[in-house]
């Protein structure tokens, strides 16, 4: 594992996982208006998104806003989107992600487990 992504598909998957986490957080903040207990989980997803962004090359943040998520994600709720983000990280072996990715992935797995209704 080195300090950068080793393949373009790996960095694109990482960006997709971030986009899914941000979307999960956004929907979670909305869901929390009816169920305030969900706010903490939504914030956790947003914090993980920030941690994942921290592994991206510093000059490429703007590319995140260009990620187009598949339409199949539109109907998912916060929990579904968090699971989708975790699944996205499985597309590549860990060594294709930069140093620090293991911690983000384990955090994501904990979030999946703890966000179950």
């Amino acid at each position: 594992m080195i300090g950068q992504f080793t393949t373009q598909p790996a960095i694109e998957s990482w960006r997709e996982a971030i986009a899914l986490l941000v979307e999960a957080a956004t929907r979670g903040f909305t869901e929390a208006e009816a169920n305030p207990a969900l706010y903490s989980t939504a914030l956790w997803a947003d914090l993980l998104a920030s941690s994942a962004i921290d592994l991206l090359p510093a000059n490429q943040d703007h590319l995140l806003d260009g990620v187009v998520l598949d339409r199949s994600y539109e109907d998912l709720d916060m929990v579904g989107l968090i699971r989708a983000a975790e699944t996205t990280t499985r597309r590549h072996p860990i060594e294709q992600f930069p140093v620090g990715a293991s911690g983000v992935i384990v955090g994501l797995l904990d979030l999946v487990r703890e966000s179950r209704p």
């Binding site: 962004i53 072996p93 060594e95 140093v99 911690g103 384990v106 904990d110």
Partner: protein
């Protein structure tokens, strides 16, 4: 999870480790307390197979990490044999599959080694061999890290359950041991830290929402103090919307936690119930609402750009984990009994209200940051705001098509700045009102005073003040 047919297993070494990686992740989706002992039984097999594979791979540097992990694991296994805990029984299917895959990979690597010329470790190796070995080693250590975390989280739940049983002065089931389970948790935690350091996990505790059992009394106070200091430090640096949004979101969570923990304290008669119900709680609800409005108005201007000051992120992760381990069980709130069992409710309430005392000051500082001409947002976010009608047409100067195309950081459009400034004024007003309502100074009763009966329907909420049960060691049939 792949059930390997060892005789006909055609997978390559890389595929086998990848399969172990995926299976170890599957294990983490579930950390039921019933899995703990099975996972401890299988843990040694995982480490043994991982160490065999590690030693079979070319390694010019002789990295000692896996040797340390093997030594720790061997020690744990000796203890298990001596104490007969967790004793005989089934292993964990996920971890057994991981061990089988890694064991098979070790056999394959060793067979290639035996078939070729004898390896001269001092001789230079082809660069592709070294790269492959480095990749495999990273993949392997990641598997060990994830497996250690899955054993640890299962043990956390198991230990928590045993502690609850002992605190209720009940006997543990035959074969259960609080002290041995807790010791195993500590020892596997050491492996997790070593493996985590190898793979470069930067926030191993806070990021994974680590639940410490029992909740460390001083953690919340420390996390809140660190957060307050770091939020002010970050806001003194270059003003970015992402930092401001993160601060606003965490302040809202602190306010929400003050409500949850404060409600438990009031209902148990530790603080004044009427004061909480009629003054503090509405004030905290209003404060959550106004922080939420700031976040809602700011969020569209960031779109997905959430890169924040790493020091702020670390403090946010820690305060979030410290709050969540008190207030939550899974996706929902913990029950009042759970909260009381986890933490000194009165102390936590006082810590949270002390943290809220700085809300007025923080809102002023955030207001200064938003007013700073250097305060920027993403051009696409600003455009979205304009498109949504949040900014009157003709007032979004400073944003060109090129800015939007390249999604540059641009000064926030003035009308949006005005909206945020108004939001923050509202936060200040509500925070001042909350302060005068006593939301930052809970009226604490003596712990054993019976609560004064409030009028009307609140009678049903009354409960005799309870004292917190002793944390440890528990009383009961500890073997």
């Amino acid at each position: 999870m792949t059930i390997p047919d060892v005789d006909n297993d055609q997978r390559s070494v890389g595929e086998l480790i990848l399969d172990a990686d995926i299976t170890s992740r599957d294990a983490l989706w579930d950390s039921g307390k019933d899995l703990a002992k099975a996972r401890v039984r299988s843990w040694g097999e995982v480490v043994e197979a991982a160490a065999d594979l590690w030693s079979a791979m070319p390694d010019r540097l002789g990295d000692p990490t896996m040797s340390r992990i093997r030594t720790l694991s061997d020690g744990l296994q000796r203890t298990q044999r001596r104490t007969q805990w967790p004793g005989a029984g089934d292993g964990d299917p996920h971890l057994e599959s991981v061990a089988t895959s890694l064991g098979r990979a070790a056999e394959l690597v060793s067979a290639v080694d035996r078939g070729g010329a004898s390896r001269n470790l001092s001789a230079p190796m082809p660069i592709d061999v070294l790269h492959d070995a480095e990749a495999a080693r990273t993949r392997l250590m990641h598997v060990v890290y994830v497996c250690a975390h899955s054993v640890g989280t299962s043990l956390d739940r198991h230990v928590e359950e045993l502690r609850g049983t002992l605190d209720q002065r009940k006997s543990l089931d035959r074969g259960d041991s609080f002290t041995r389970a807790q010791a195993a948790r500590q020892r596997i935690g050491a492996v997790e830290r070593i493996a985590g350091a190898y793979v470069g996990s930067r926030w191993p505790q806070a990021l994974t929402g680590e639940h410490r059992s029992p909740v460390e009394a001083a953690r919340l106070e420390r996390a809140l103090a660190r957060w307050d200091v770091q939020a002010h430090r970050t806001l003194a640096g270059p003003p970015t919307a992402a930092n401001v949004l993160r601060i606003v979101q965490v302040q809202r969570e602190i306010t929400s936690a003050a409500d949850v923990v404060g409600s438990v304290a009031a209902r148990r008669g530790l603080t004044d119930l009427e004061q909480h119900h009629f003054r503090t709680r509405p004030a905290l609800a209003s404060l959550q609402q106004v922080w939420g409005r700031v976040a809602a108005d700011l969020q569209p201007m960031l779109v997905r750009q959430r890169r924040v000051d790493p020091a702020l992120l670390g403090a946010a992760n820690e305060v979030h984990a410290a709050l969540r381990e008190i207030t939550h069980e899974g996706a929902g709130y913990a029950t009042p009994d759970d909260v009381i069992a986890r933490v000194d409710v009165l102390g936590a309430t006082a810590s949270l209200h002390r943290a809220l005392a700085s809300t007025v000051d923080l809102a002023h500082v955030v207001g200064d940051v938003v007013a700073d001409p250097a305060f920027t947002v993403s051009a696409r976010g600003a455009q979205a705001l304009v498109t949504a009608g949040g900014v009157p047409v003709g007032n979004h100067h400073g944003m060109s098509l090129a800015d939007v195309h390249h999604n540059r950081d641009i000064p926030i459009p003035q009308p949006a700045r005005v909206v945020l400034a108004a939001d923050l004024d509202q936060v200040i007003r509500v925070a001042v009102a909350a302060d005068s309502a006593g939301a930052t100074r809970p009226e604490i009763r003596a712990q054993l005073d019976p609560p004064t009966a409030p009028s009307g329907r609140l009678h049903q909420d009354r409960a005799l003040a309870s004292t917190r049960p002793a944390a440890a060691p528990g009383f009961g049939c500890e073997r």
